[in-house]
Amino acid sequence: MTSTAPSCLAESLNEALGQLMENDESVVLIGQDIGRLGGVFRVTKGLQKRFGPSRVRDAILAESSIVGQAIGMSLSGLTPVCEIQFDGFIYPAMNQIVTQAARMTTRWNDDLTLNLVIRVPVGGGIRAVEHHSESNEAYFAHTPGLHVAFPSSPSDAAAMLKSSCLLGSPVIFYEPKRLYWKRKRQPRELSEPVSALSARVVRRGSDITVVGFGALLEEVLAAADLVASTVDVEVVDLRWIAPMDTETVLASVARTGRLLVVHEAVGFGGVGAELVATVAEHGSNHLRSPMRRLAPPRRIYPPADYESRHLIGVSQIAGAIEEMCT
């Protein structure tokens, strides 16, 4: 990490996309309003001017056609990076992602490199209208053949985007909306992940492991600070939802003896359930107290006036940590 690191997610992704396109002619961008407008979140701002309309392609308003054509472009030797405008609009592309992109390499008897990144602004907390605040990572994590990236910081997002373009298999790349223009961040341990696809310990501690990812990691770190006088909290940034680096989590739980998983998507059938089940199967001998998940109940994401009640906040996380450690 350098001192010149961009200060918010939108800027860092914009810079990363620019570098990717600069260094690799095969990289093309496809998405609704990403060219003239620079994207509804301005992540692709200025890129069409710089690289031209044939490489920064304003897509027809049809998500299945965005992903479907990108699969074909990838088969033709390009590295398409798609933008789905909002999390809740990815469903029309679901068939192309799940029955086609995810299975293509297997269908080709593994004799295929399918470079394909699908960027998806994700999550709530921005007073958005219906379908604009979803966290739907579990659907994609459940689908073999997909990588699911879920960065929590601008510089890490840039690094993860670059590795996503080189993976040779499709990536659902989540971008937490709350971080797009957020410049203030909790301090973190400057440890590098073991590999590009690893989770990362971002705060060292000895009493409890709290795993989070995406925008909510900021709240987790704030909660860890809040209880610091009584509980020494270790925080793991999961980074990739699939494949999931359970090794790093198991190693952390082996040190702390406690596990709390926090996420913004509903808890039922979610990422936290998978992680808790894995630790139950492979690390229960390390546990000093029952594991817990902290996530919204299985309810439709509410209108903006009610979203703060739906979302997990700092005080809830701090409360759960204290309950588990006393």
Binding site: I60, G68, Q69, L75, L78, N95, Q96, R103
Partner: protein, 327 residues
Amino acid sequence: MTDAASRQNLGSDDGTRGGQPIEMEGARPFDVMEPVDAETRRAMLRHMLVARGIDDEARRLENQGALDLWLSCRGQEAAQVGSATAVGDEAVIFPSYREHAVAVVRGIDAVSLVAQWAGRTYCGWNPRRHKFFPYTLVLAAQALHGVGYAIGRRLKNEAETVAVYVGDGATSEGDMSEAMNLAAVESAQVLFICQNNGWAISKPSQEQMLTSITDRANGFGIRSWSISADDPDSTYLSCLAAKRYVETSRSPGLIELRTTRIGGHTTSDPHTSYRDPEELAAAVANDPVMRYRERLYAAGVVDAEWLESVEAAVDETHRELLKVFAS
């Protein structure tokens, strides 16, 4: 079946030359008027006989339990071989899942073709080597891939023609409409080849659509044609003209090949329970493979010795399929 009979194009009177393309809808007449040469006709008959031979053996193997399922292209060989021959070796083909005779034209052997129906793989051939991409079982999904591929090759300054095969049933899928719209807007070098065999499993064409497939293509701004495709010669010539249109205009085209499904949708489909016996009997009687064989033989384009050599090759194919899948 007078309607089907009227759709037949029996070519020139002496039978030594292939027929002319017919029944252009919504477009000016094709400018390809040359006859089909004898060598091309022999190659097409050979491919049709080989495809039929594979179909015969695959059906037997399925019946014996050696294959899990088989999707017969019986009755559609003229449409498939005529169109694939016109498409040529250069274009990349994005097939649906019944294009066995197209695969034969592309040099894919019987064992490779049948392997996926025996549960051994999801694609038995090398897609790049044959420029024949894997079968796509989710209808019309491959139409978008084909358009994206054509756009991608153009962006790489390596423009090449793409052929996308779909069936009449698949045209109801949203992806087909999205693909046609995208191809039109992007002026993608794609020839959509729609085999209309009259059935989406048990749903007849007239209950699937109020407007024709070609009308819908026109609505998206795509040039389209509809032809009877029970004769390989006229199918070849019409598809050749359609492909030339796509290549010279560098824009998409759609050709509807009206054809006939002699078998069920799959070997698990008891199609006699929903098909009119007379319609089915006419379909069998109008078998395009037998008719073409008889025509070329009568015209002296092929002789008994030639037919025997093809039959010997088909017998060898049967033995290979038996060896690999029934043992």
